[in-house]
Amino acid sequence: MASSRDDFIIAIRSAFLKKSTQQKFSLSTLILISLFTIILSNYDFKIIRYAKIGINEVVYRSSFIVSIPENFIKNTFLEINEYTTFFKKYKEDQNELNKLRSENISNEIIQNENRELKELINDYVSSSEMLLAKIIVDHDSPFLKSIIINKGSKDNVKIGTNIFDQSYLVGRVIEVNYRTSRVLLLSDLNSNVPVTIAPQNVQAIITGSGTDFAQIKYIKEGIFDEFTEQSIIYSSGTGAIFKSGIPIGRLKSSVNEDIKEYNVEFYSDFSQLKYVFADVGSKIEITKVEEKSNNSEVEDKTPLNAKLKILEDELRIIEDSNLKFQSENDFLKTKINELNINITILKNEITNQKKIINQIDIDKEELEFLRLNLLYSHKCQTRKLFSTGYKIGTPEYKKCILNKGKIDD
């Protein structure tokens, strides 16, 4: 028993410490170096960072060169696959192209409208500058889903830069070297994206599952019933990690143990990516807003100051509105005076007109009397003997004339 234990210890010691003539280092030394490297790589020292960037640059380029034969085989394999379904796909593509062309016009209109509305609500308008990047390493590891692109800090790529395939979101940059960067794909387990599910307008977070689908998380129970196969997933922009309104995929239902589940099927096929776009654009207006908010943040550090500032703002608003009301009041008073003067003038005018109308009426009556007088004066005039008429100028005479010569007994 003791001898077997001794043998084991000797064998282990030999395995660790014995260095054959071929080997430059013993295994125990290399184990220690490995552990030291793991610990060091965990810290973000400047020297380590630069060493890592240097190793990355060399290894990525070497990997790209070494991968050429395998990529050639892979591409040939894919091309043969494509040729077998060529015609069918061509027909489908043609139909889709026609459909997309018509949709494109309305999309442009919506985009413009959206831009205008964003400006109206004081949202930022970011100027996107898309940089075409080639994928140099895309080894589809079963554990981590990431790609290496041939653009780095030299091309203004930063950690967090959004990466697109056409107009679809595919991931974000998690590691930047001088001329290369690593992109974490949306399908990776460590990828979380805040999204909006349309048309239900549900906010959620999708998490990569290591496959071609993503899982929907952090939504209320029962909301799943509202979803349909046609529901579209696009980034909501919450958290400012991803830009808002970028299409990601659509919902796909599956039945798992008699329970209907919804997963997100990505628009983009991550295994077929050759070129991608890196959004290195600057957010012009948001920077201003951010700067402004940063300044105000510094000022409003203490709660008392913040309270005072709110009260001052309130006071200023009240004073402003008071001034506005006063000037409005003055304006209304002058307007009332003007109107009163107008009324007096109009009243005078009416009195004058009434007078004129009365005069006209009198004249008209007089004229009628004179006309009738010519006709019936002989009937109403008094004679010297046996007279039945009236004396000229008397009211009775006038009445008689107006009654067309009829004398009242």
């Binding site: 043998d7 084991f8 000797i10 064998a11 282990i12 030999s14 395995a15 660790f16 014995k18 054959s20 071929q22 080997q23 430059k24 280092f25 295994l27 290399l30 184990i31 170096i33 490995s34 552990l35 030291f36 490297t37 793991i38 060091l40 790589s41 965990n42 890592k52 190793i55 990355n56 290894v59 990525y60 070497s62 990997s63 070494v66 991968s67 395998e70 892979k74 394999f77 894919l78 390493v137 080894h139 589809d140 590891s141 079963p142 554990f143 981590l144 990431s146 590691e175 690593r182 387990l189 460590n190 290591g210 496959t211 295994s271």
Partner: protein, 168 residues
């Protein structure tokens, strides 16, 4: 199969083949992942390192194995040193089995390989999830271990021809 009349340049190149192949495999991630088979992946460097260290092949230097681990970490995006540690642990395991074995048996080696890769993948998984907070699928690791185990015997028969050429 291969007969080197004189141990000149070609023989030297031939002796460097395993380590060259190891570097190519870590740089290229030689794993047929583009076939898009969902439950298929295997770790070729594990097979290569295990086989050639158990045979104690000339020019298969541990320091180069360590370096290939660093390259693998860079390509796959793992924290630096993880793969190096795994590869060196394989080297220790093979060194130990070589010390205690008098009559080598391929089947025994094969099952010992299963034990070793299971242990190393477990360490790998634990370190990545516990210390680096990586989200990893355990099933993928199990499948990877299983396929690596199955493929070992296939590559064993291929590498046997290489060894025959080296010894002749």
């Amino acid at each position: 199969m291969i007969n080197f009349k004189t141990k000149g340049f070609y023989y030297k190149l031939y002796t460097w083949f395993p380590i060259m192949f190891l570097f190519i495999s870590v740089l290229n991630e030689f794993d047929f992942n583009y076939l898009n088979l969902r439950y298929f992946s295997f770790n070729f460097p594990f097979i290569l390192i295990f086989y050639f260290t158990i045979k104690d092949v000339k020019n298969f230097d541990y320091s180069l194995v360590f370096l290939s681990g660093l390259v693998n970490d860079t390509v796959t995006g793992l924290p630096l040193g993880i793969s190096s540690l795994s590869y060196i642990l394989i080297c220790i395991a093979t060194s130990y089995i070589r010390n205690i074995t008098i009559r080598p048996n391929p089947i025994k080696d094969w099952f010992y390989f299963l034990f070793v890769i299971s242990l190393i993948n477990s360490i790998n998984y634990s370190v990545l999830t516990l210390f680096f907070s990586f989200d990893l699928i355990l099933v993928s690791y199990l499948i990877n271990t299983l396929f690596t185990f199955f493929f070992y015997i296939i590559f064993y028969s291929i590498f046997k021809y290489y060894m025959k050429g080296l010894n002749d």
